[in-house]
Amino acid sequence: MTVLAPPPTRVPERSTSAGGRSKSVSWMVLPALAVFVAFGIVPLLGALGLSFTQWDGIGQINPAGLDSWKAVLTEPGLLHALWVTFLVMALSWVFQTPMSLLIGVFLAAHKRYRGLLAVLYFIPLLLSSTAIAITYSALLNPNFGLGAGLGVELLNQDWLGQGNLALGVLIFVVSWQFIPFHSLIYQGGVRQIPTSLYEAAEIDGAGKIRTFFSITLPQLKYTIITSSTLMVVGSLTFFDLIFVLTAGGPGDSTQVLALEMYQLGFKANLMGPASAIAVILVLVGLGLALLLRRLGGGSEADSQLEGV
């Protein structure tokens, strides 16, 4: 799980020998490209095409011009689903990033007990989203769940039955599942920071907290961007856990865009509008990924080890 840019020593080498060497290995991109085109680009074009048709998934595909787009864009449900999607994205980022950063830094130190903890932290990531969702909905059941079982009134809320509570539970469960993954990224990132920086800081008399903010955090800039991109784009298409945990409910309180797309396409048999939403999802995802790269500043060839 190396997420860092290549070491700076190779950068000049690559730029000087751009002609001969990169040409000879360019064919190596072909297998990946073929898979990407077959399973990424072609379905995307298919969805784009379908968004201009009327199709119920069973009968004939009829061209319908902009009907689906008009239907989707004028439907108040879309704005609501977009809002919920962004809310889930933002809240889970706000919650997950500091947590996984701290855990990652903590786990990066080479201590045996931390290695054991790392394994324990990693467990939620090994479970399937569906299993997690079923378990949590059983635990949070107001009549037969944890609160009722232990007789603790504080735990016995209508967790999944009230809009804001359900959203909060959702963010919590998503974070619980994915913090281990992002911790792992940060752990790798921290281990790449040269120890000489820390030694220098120590000589200068910097404390632990000062070292964290002045060395660890700036050095993890690209790791943070990578992790955030995965989080943000991932939460756009987040589906399985929400589908099983709340199914968009109560009412439409947790109805995210991906769920809306599924229900339109496969429940309501409206493949046209569902494809239009799929295209919107792709555009939003691409836009956000580009934006995050911009935020990183500079080009990818920039050295990450500034000042070394």
Binding site: D56, G57, I58, G59, Q60, S137, A138, L140, N141, P142, N143, F144, D158, W159, L160, G161, Q162, G163, A166, T246, A247, G249, P250, G251, D252, S253, Q263, L264, F266, K267, A268, N269, L270
Partner: protein
């Protein structure tokens, strides 16, 4: 929904099926040249059905009996889990890969297949084989009929929705079973005061909420109100009975009639039934199929005579016939239009000699705890251990002036999805009754 313990009989039939499956695979893999080997794959009809006991075992046994009796016209069957099946069948039909026999719930789903020209018109066939048609409940043909033509054979069981109550809880509270909707509402504060949910409702599954709307609308405005919606009349939801019904529902929610946290109760794990048989709820409006699962899961709740049941009581001043009921008038088998002539022949042979034969009928009653859509089963029903409940279901189904199909099955998939969405919002107060009517009027006839 694998809740029944695997009995020895089921186990044996499963092993037998595994053997039969292997034999069929062997048959199929003999390739195009294998026609000489007795069976011949050309007239082997494929048949998909649902998993989940006791239905799965009964469906399988019926298909195996047919295969044994007809070595030259075999069925090749595959079982799917409920939700997986719904997706799979739609995709398969869309891709022209449908099985010969298309199992389903009739109504709006069947209509979408008919509109796409994917299923056979069976009107003529039923005309020639009047005996097959006359054997079945006439009411079961409603959801099989699209535009006056019959496109599917009713099969399996009839499942009206029933108002269940826990007799023990009623006794403890000193309450009498309600005679009217007003009685039901009068019971709400009584049970709430004792910390018992008046009605158990799995509000997370949207269709469970829908059952309340179906019965209330029928009792208030009569069967004609939903019929107008079904017929696609413009603004049919604007009937004043609809507003009255929606307002009553929201009042019930506000008064806590469905108990604490009903919107996070899930029907998929039968938590709503558990509330009733553990005495945490007093009443429950639910499908006839829950009798069997409560019998399985509820210990001695059902066998001890603690479960009471009735048809939904009338609403004061309402126009609806109190004998009316709602639910599934049957399940349905359609024949794929893409099947070969030989396969269609096999399928039709299955309709005449296999579907709901004497053995299958008996199995549905004794093992399934349900009433098959076949006439003249009174004596078998009376001999069953669940005779009292089965007689009630039989009488309700036969005597109903109108046996309406569940709304989400009757309407087109597009309208049904909007309906379920708006029902979920109604129970959360996220939509007003007036707005609900406006939203629903927009999808009439779609």
């Amino acid at each position: 929904m694998e809740r029944s313990p695997i009995s020895r009989r089921t186990f044996l039939s499963l092993t037998a099926a595994a053997g039969a499956g292997a034999a069929l695979t062997a048959c199929g893999s003999s390739g195009p040249g294998g026609g000489s080997s007795g069976g011949g794959a050309a007239n082997t009809a494929s048949y998909w059905f649902l998993t989940g006991q006791p239905g799965e075992g009964i469906r399988q046994a019926a298909a195996e009996r047919f295969n044994k009796a007809n070595p030259n016209n075999k069925l090749q069957f595959t079982a799917f889990e409920n939700d997986a099946y719904k997706q799979k069948i739609k995709t398969a039909i869309g891709a022209g890969q449908a099985p010969t026999l298309i199992w389903g719930w009739g109504g709006g789903g069947l209509k979408s297949y008919v509109d796409a020209g994917q299923v056979e018109d069976l009107t003529g066939w039923f005309g020639e084989n009047a005996a097959v048609k006359d054997k079945l409940f006439p009411s079961s043909f409603g959801p099989a009929t699209v535009g006056g033509k019959i496109y599917a054979m009713p099969c399996e069981t009839v499942q009206p929705i029933v108002l269940y109550y826990n007799k023990k809880v009623f006794e403890q509270a000193g309450a009498q079973p309600p005679q009217s909707f007003e009685d039901m509402m009068a019971l709400v504060p009584k049970f709430k005061g004792k910390g018992i949910a008046p009605f158990s409702l799995a509000g997370k599954a949207r269709w469970t909420n829908m059952m309340w709307l179906e019965f209330l609308l029928d009792r208030i405005g009569g069967a004609s109100v939903f019929q107008a919606v079904f017929d696609g009349q413009k603004d049919a939801w604007s009937d004043p009975a609809v507003l009255d019904m929606l307002t009553k529902i929201q009042t019930m929610v506000k008064d806590g009639a469905f108990g604490k946290g009903f919107s996070s109760v899930d029907a998929a794990n039968n938590a709503d039934q558990a509330l009733l048989y553990t005495g945490k709820a007093a009443m429950m409006l639910h499908g006839g199929w829950t009798y069997g699962s409560m019998k399985n899961d509820g210990g001695d709740f059902v066998s001890g005579g603690n479960l009471g049941w009735m048809n939904f009581p009338p609403v004061a001043g309402g126009k609806g016939d109190p004998s009316d009921t709602v639910g599934n008038p049957g399940q349905y088998l359609a024949i794929s239009a893409k099947a070969t002539a030989e396969q269609k022949e096999t399928a039709k042979k299955f309709f005449t000699t296999g579907v709901l034969d004497a053995d299958e009928t008996k199995a549905w009653i004794n093992d399934g705890g349900s009433v098959p859509v076949v006439k003249g089963t009174e004596s078998v029903l009376a001999a069953s251990p669940d005779a009292a409940f089965l007689k009630f279901v039989y009488d309700t189904s036969v005597n109903a002036k109108t046996f309406a199909q569940s709304w989400d099955q009757a309407l087109s998939p597009t309208a049904a999805e909007t309906l379920l969405d708006n029902i979920a919002k109604l129970f959360q107060n996220q939509v007003s009754p007036q707005q609900w009517v406006t939203n629903m009027n927009q999808v009439i006839g779609k």
